[in-house]
Symmetry: C2
DNA sequence: TTCGCCATGTAATACGTTACATGATTGG
DNA sequence: CCAATCATGTAACGTATTACATGGCGAA
């Protein structure tokens, strides 16, 4: 999966592993996450497969950068992936729900403390989505008007991130109320 | 993670790998998923670690069953896991959102077809959650009244599954409308 | 001078998925 | 007779996570 995300971003412009990590964290992080180690190793593999090529860029008083670009094979692989529709639902893995499922015998105070912390984290995420990422999309839309159509789709996925966090907070609030009794 | 789910279920009663897979599929499947292969191999590992013990049960005209039970060490490990609160958010991995993010250049008809299918799948899931799993919880609550307190927590996690699917469908409908233009 | 950011990677491990493999019983 | 369900597992592969490892620059 991470392979296609990297191909997708390189489709916009050549980038380094570091750039890709930054881009990922500021765009699709609401629904996909990767560590830099995975990105660097995947890029190496992709180069071995001929999907990307890299060139090392030396700059004085600046760290060296390995810039990756798509090859025709990479572009083809990316398009082939986009063309074959998903036919299944993505499985969810929610550790908090697992813990709550088994929490009947725990001290309610400890359960509540855990839920309060999660509420804070999700509230923070929601605020981020509402401001930061929206800004990033708008800025990109102005800087790169040829990506206006892309920005429409980015906004759609951002809506999902916002919807998800709103739903989560709503559920947390109801759950907290019920446990507080 | 799957280790703690297995410990959690075995805390209720001794079970086989098959039983655990069935139980998992009919209870925490809204927020955790595992293949039978992973369950069987994890049980073996857990036995090696001394968290569970198994005994082979032979029955005529019935397949043999390997029944696992918790040891004191297993119970202790499970309680220790429950006691240390989660301090981070579970990362989301939503392939559909990734695909949509990069879908600006795709044929809108193909994108819509993909979204229609997802809508069907999620609608089906929501119906399942509303009927089947609720029934399972009620039935269990009647059969095992000592688990009444547990059932409260099971219902809370079911609410999350329902909330999630409702949010997802809502988002899908809005997204479809916008792409249909 | 210390912290954070830029920038790169490797190694080891852990976890998850797909495919392979078998065989009995029950119900339509 | 065929499909589904019960019941168990292994092997190979693929993906993800944690930890290890390095070093320069700029700002407070």
């Amino acid at each position: 999966m991470i392979k296609y995300i990297l191909l997708g971003f390189l489709n916009y412009q050549p980038m380094t592993g570091y750039d890709l990590k930054q881009t990922l964290d500021h765009s699709v992080s609401h629904f996909w996450h990767a560590y830099h180690s995975q990105i660097y190793t995947t890029l190496r593999q992709m180069e071995a497969e001929g999907l990307v090529v890299s060139e090392f860029v030396y700059a004085e008083s600046q760290p060296d950068r390995r810039v990756y670009s798509l090859t025709d094979a990479g572009r083809a692989e990316f398009n082939a992936w986009l063309e074959q529709s998903l036919t299944e639902m993505s499985p969810i893995k929610e550790e908090l729900a697992v813990r709550l499922f088994f929490s009947a015998r725990r001290d309610p105070k400890s359960v509540l403390a855990e839920l309060y912390l999660q509420r804070e984290l999700h509230q923070k995420k929601l605020n981020e989505y509402r401001i930061m990422t929206k800004d990033a999309i708008e800025k990109n839309a102005i800087l790169a008007p040829q990506l206006a159509q892309d920005a429409v789709f980015w906004r759609l996925t951002l809506n999902m991130g916002i919807g998800y966090e709103e739903m989560y907070l709503d559920w947390l609030n109801k759950t907290i109320l019920q446990i507080e009794r």
